[in-house]
């Protein structure tokens, strides 16, 4: 029986971690992820989990401890945000390179400078080539669901998974949520039995030795293949989760998209606000629709191209700026996928909400209004737009 509750995003994720009861959690506090290790430390001291909790002195050490524990054969989780993820950077590549199924909860927050504690996606987008599967979450419910599924996805794909949700907007907002029973979660994630691990006394193996010109390339190709293969694993695990909970999670979610003329692509909590805007526009006869990627790694590039091909015009929204003289990361990757799939739809980019600038429903109306103009005139005046900038 599902349990009706009201929890903040961080409480929901900490609850998921309690139900998963991983072997090891190593974490260092950073706003807005701090509450996760804080709640979890309580669970440890109250005896509601049997996890070995390692209160490390930095995020670099947090991921290093996770790597060590995971290589030893443990089921491992951690949480961080922003500068914390940036400080983990070199170890992220080691986690994926060693094919360790570590689950990292990243509560999305802007990067310094200027210093800012609020939400955008600069942190996880900065780590997009680190070999982590990345799952993005609109609500507390999705943060909870994805955290539970991440364990299973990581262990099947033999890749680390990053669960990303919006700092403060999701992490600190109380919302309704349906929790699973402890037993259900326990059975769903099952026992972790790695094929190869350092503490296996029957087999002497080495993890992470030097690998030069004659072997490094092949190993990197295996990681690339694992990321490709993870798509089917994500689908399978999500299907199993759906059968258990009735909550459907695909590689992406569509909202009023199939007959839409004007479409937007956006990640995380803004997708909810966009759905509200779309309902209003639909009631006025505007054929508006949304595609919300759940997976950014792997990027379902063929599927997304196929879904948007009948639109008259598309806006891709980025809560991160690549500062590359061109566009945000989501725009670059999806338009590139559209090009290689021979999908030609006029597409514009919106950089929005940096540093926690509130995204109002009016901002979404503004995007759709621009799209209507482009659809009518066929002309794109500005390719990369900065939405909700003061003085505009």
């Amino acid at each position: 029986m599902a349990i009706r509750e009201r929890l903040s995003g961080n409480e929901a994720v900490a609850t998921a971690m309690k139900q998963i009861n991983p072997d090891t959690v190593a974490a260092y506090p950073i706003t807005p992820a701090t509450e996760i290790p804080q709640y979890f430390a309580n669970f440890v001291s109250n005896g509601s989990v049997t996890t070995e909790f390692i209160p490390v002195e930095s995020e670099h050490s947090a991921m290093s401890a996770c790597i060590g524990a995971s290589a030893a054969g443990a089921r491992v989780m951690t949480a961080t945000s922003s500068q914390g993820l940036a400080y983990m950077f070199e170890t992220l590549y080691i986690a994926s390179g060693l094919r360790l199924p570590i689950v990292l909860v990243n509560v999305n927050r802007a990067l310094s400078a200027p210093i800012n504690i609020h939400n955008d996606h600069s942190d996880s987008m900065g780590a997009r080539d680190a070999g982590f599967i990345q799952l993005y979450c609109e609500s507390n419910q999705e943060a909870y669901d994805n955290t539970i599924m991440a364990v299973k996805i990581a262990e099947k794909a033999k890749l680390p998974v990053m669960v990303c949700y919006d700092g403060f907007i999701t992490s600190h907002s109380i919302e309704n949520i349906m929790l699973m029973e402890n037993e259900e979660v326990k059975n769903f994630v099952g026992e972790y039995n790695p094929e190869e691990y350092l503490l296996d006394d029957k087999r002497n193996i080495s993890i992470g030795p030097l690998s030069l010109q004659n072997s490094y390339f092949e190993q990197r190709k295996e990681i690339a293949d694992a990321m490709v293969d993870s798509k089917e694993i994500i689908k399978e695990v999500s299907e199993e989760f759906y059968k258990l909970t009735g909550r459907k999670h695909g590689l992406y979610e569509k909202y009023m998209l199939d007959d839409a003329e004007l479409g937007i692509i956006v990640l995380n909590s803004t997708a909810g606000t966009a759905k509200e805007a779309i309902d209003v526009l639909r009631s006025k006869g505007v054929k508006a629709g949304l595609l919300k990627p759940r997976c950014f790694r792997p990027l379902p590039y063929l599927e997304i191209s196929e879904e948007v091909k009948n639109l008259k015009v598309l806006a891709i929204m980025d809560k991160a700026d690549s500062v590359n003289g061109y566009s945000g990361p989501l725009f670059s990757e999806i338009t590139s996928a559209m090009y290689t799939s021979n999908v030609k739809v006029p597409t514009v980019n919106y950089i929005y909400g940096l540093g926690g600038r509130d995204v109002k429903i009016d901002n979404i109306f503004e995007v759709f209004s621009d799209l209507e103009t482009i659809a009518k005139t066929g002309k794109i005046t500005t390719l990369t737009n900065y939405l909700g900038l003061r003085g505009e």
Binding site: R6, T273, D358
Partner: protein
Amino acid sequence: MIEIRWHGRGGQGAKTASLLLADAAFNTGKFIQGFPEYGPERMGAPMTAYNRIDENEIRIHSNVYEPDYVVVVDDTLIGTVDVTNGLKKEGAILVNTSEPIEKIRKELSGYTGKVYTLDATKISLECLKANFPNTALLAAIIKITNIMDRETLIKDMEGSFKHKFARKPEVIPPNMECLTRGFDELNGGE
């Protein structure tokens, strides 16, 4: 959907009050949101918190710009913060104050909707011997918004307090007194 904005000062419990209101509405079977607008968190600095309450799942994730109700936890904020900004005229504002309602209305930059006052600070000082006005204000806003009736509120909050103050049961009766007085001593509505 009902949207509520709370204005308080850091340390006065506006955030807690918004979370308690979310709890109360949740307990009546509603969908809720409760969240503060985090800024530099300093004692005494103006801060804002929000609630949304609806029959259906709440998908919007922005701050509240056109609230149905506003609660002002500290009347010295009026004039410093534009507390009626965007407030719907069919809505209402509740102010924690010892001032007469007419004086407060004059200070609300021409707001034409309903104005309520409650001397929640006095109630708190008398019941709790300390200034924690949010329990009394919570009862008052629940009365104004009609989220639950007096009897249900008392039963519901008694349960919450028993859980929250499990180790200090002696503080439950004075908090319950704050709650009932907040409900009963609400002024205004014109």
